[in-house]
Amino acid sequence: MKKQEVYNITFGGVGGQGIITASELLGWAALYDGCSVKKSEVHGMSQRGGSVESHVRFGRKVYSPLIGLGQADFLLCFHPDEHPRLKPFLRKGGTDLMPYLEKVQQIADNPRAVNTGLMGVLAAFLPIRPDSWEWAMQKVFKPSILEVNRQMFSKAMALVK
């Protein structure tokens, strides 16, 4: 892995979009890649359609479970309405993956796979090995939906390039 001390990724959207699953996937992938990982979210009322925000940080040593404003290397926003609220997390020169949301939606047969698609896009930017992603998918997805998600992940990853 090309070493940057710590990678900060902010996820956001609304309840029911699979944001927690997506950040879970990244957390496991980073863990399988041998990193120290922290993930934080508040899901008190998210099932009731409230805003959802998740922070994942990984690297050699991570202290805070939260990403400060202006500190995120990547922003993954799952809903255009939430974008203005989340934008302040992105650091100068950080990568906003917002432009990929529509592209991923277009290639997704099932709206429930959009989250995995966005993770495929993110994976194209991160120095996490493919094996680690594969193991993470095996960990996070039930066998019945593993293959669908695996395909979505690769298809979306190919959008970057």
Binding site: G27, V42, Q47, R48, E53, L66
Partner: protein, 516 residues
């Protein structure tokens, strides 16, 4: 493909880590009532077949059952959210006197920022009030370690131990080293009346033992590795606890730290030693100035605390920076989507009727509290568990002529509403109490309760008959109605019951749309 690493690590939340750690420590019995952010502790424990787990009726019941198991001789755990501890304070306070047989740990999850709570109370004061030791992990890794130590401390010092968490630690995940379970032998049941029968003559002796125990625990706190001094630059030193430590480490990696993990009783000598070794000394903590006031009480005059504005809400790295700079707290609002009742939620029907009839609605704790928000805006009080029932009575005593109703959920009614209904009947109060029965504890993610006829592991069990309970409590009328497609009928029923000079209960029954 490279070989998949065999993991002695797992990616666990603070709550999952507590469950795992308790299991590793040989836990046998665990009890709780669901409450964000503590719910996942019991849900995670339910996956371990060695542990006898239960959703209890309420926190008082949960505390007593779990504590009694420890008195009986097996390691036991009670978990709750901060306000849940209020319900369990009665057994907690005196269990400090009676001590334990096998280890007993009470996990309490505070909710700074009130992500999903009605207040922001700081459980650290419970240590002082109940004279019990408090351990405070900063992370899931510490949670799994601290809870195992907590069981040992509980047995060695014959005391319940409190583990205090916050939402941020309970719901953050990290890579955590996990280990195997250690079986702990069951201890024999003791008929020790002087220890366990708290009549005044015995309690006076136990109080003395409690005070002496606190002195011993203080000595333990002094030498505990959970209270750790990290010396770096001596120009700035922090005394800190909980997740605040992690935010500080992020922003001030070169500062020195006294990181308090064995929070109470305080390690006064370590605090004094650390204070002497740094030029500038600051206490950084979330919520109340609990540590700060204690450090000041030791006569350490140079210590700086925080501006009172930081007593509200959580910290983060940005806030820690402004706190240390001595600036008042300023947070740019980032308005998010407000939660609302789900599409298809059976509660919508009730609120549309209540709004139309323009009655005063005494509400309670649950999803239906969202009925106070637009577009329904038809719920006018929410204080604590069960108060939907008792507020109906109290408000009517102030305004007997006004249209007032009470409203409570099924799980909440079983938790704390039943005594209120008996009270209303006994004291000749009238009115209409709605039980919004969606057959689950919905707000915390859908846990079963006695009226669902299912246990925490979804095994069938005796089902509490809500209608029969209400009748037995003394309600004059108990109606059960499914509101789906029958709003008009519901409205007519409500009008009829409102007009009657009677104590009525209307059980509005339809399963939560999130139930699988």
């Amino acid at each position: 493909m490279a070989r998949k690493p065999s993991l002695e690590k797992a990616f666990l939340s603070g709550n999952e880590a507590l469950a795992r750690g308790a299991w590793q420590a040989g836990l046998k019995v665990a009890c709780a009532y669901p409450g964000t952010p503590s719910t996942e502790i019991l849900e995670s424990l339910a996956a371990f077949p060695e542990v006898d787990v239960q959703w209890s009726v309420n926190e008082k019941t949960a505390y007593e059952v779990a504590y009694a198991a420890a008195v009986g001789g097996v390691r036991a755990l009670f978990a709750c959210k901060h306000v849940g501890l209020n319900v369990a304070m009665d057994p907690l306070m005196t269990s400090a006197y009676t001590g334990v047989n096998a280890g007993f740990v009470a996990v309490v999850c505070d909710d700074p920022q009130m992500h999903s709570s009605q207040n922001e109370q700081d459980t650290r004061w419970a240590g002082v009030y109940a004279k019990l030791p408090i351990l405070e992990p900063s992370s899931p890794s510490e949670a799994i370690d601290f809870i195992q130590q907590a069981f040992d401390i509980s047995e060695q010092y014959d005391t319940p131990v409190i583990i205090r968490m916050t939402t941020r630690i309970s719901h953050s995940k990290e890579d955590v080293a996990i280990g195997p379970r250690k079986e702990v032998p069951i201890r024999s049941l003791q008929r020790d009346m002087r220890k366990y029968v708290m009549v005044p003559a015995n309690a006076r002796i136990r109080h003395e033992i409690l005070e002496k125990r606190l002195v011993k625990l203080k000595a333990l706190s002094e030498r505990s590795r959970l209270n750790r001094i990290e010396m770096n630059s001596t120009s700035l030193g922090f005394i800190t606890d909980s997740v605040a430590y992690l935010y500080l480490k992020e922003v001030y990696p070169d500062a020195s730290y006294l990181k308090l993990g064995f929070l109470y009783p305080f390690c006064d000598e370590k605090i004094k030693k650390f204070a002497r070794s740094v030029k500038r000394l600051m206490v950084v903590e979330e919520l109340d100035p609990f540590i700060e006031e204690h450090v000041k009480s030791l006569g350490i005059s140079k210590v700086q605390g925080k501006h009172p504005s930081y007593r509200l809400g959580e910290l983060d790295q940005d806030l820690v920076r402004s706190l240390v700079a001595g600036k008042p707290k300023k947070v740019k609002p980032r308005p998010g989507r407000a939660p609302r009742l789900c599409a298809g939620c059976p509660h919508w029907a009730v609120f549309s009727v209540l709004k139309k009839l323009d009655v005063f609605v005494a509400g309670d704790i649950g999803c239906y509290t969202l009925g106070a928000l637009p577009p329904t805006s038809a719920l006018h009080t929410c204080l604590c568990m069960g108060a939907g029932v008792t507020f109906n009575e109290g408000l009517r005593r102030a305004h007997p002529e006004q249209k007032i109703v009470g409203l409570v959920g099924d799980s909440t009614f079983v938790h704390a509403g039943i005594p209120g209904l008996i009270n209303a009947a006994y004291n000749k109060s009238k009115g209409v109490i709605f039980i919004l029965d969606n057959s689950t504890t919905a707000m915390t993610g859908g846990q079963p309760h006695p009226a669902t006829g299912k246990t925490i592991r979804r095994e069938p069990t005796k089902r509490l008959d809500l209608k029969a309970v209400c009748q037995a409590c003394g309600a004059d009328f108990v109606d059960v109605i499914d509101p789906q497609g029958r709003v008009k009928e519901l409205e007519e029923l409500v009008q009829q019951r409102l007009a009657a000079d009677a104590l009525s209960v209307i059980i509005v029954q339809h399963p939560c749309v999130l139930l699988k």
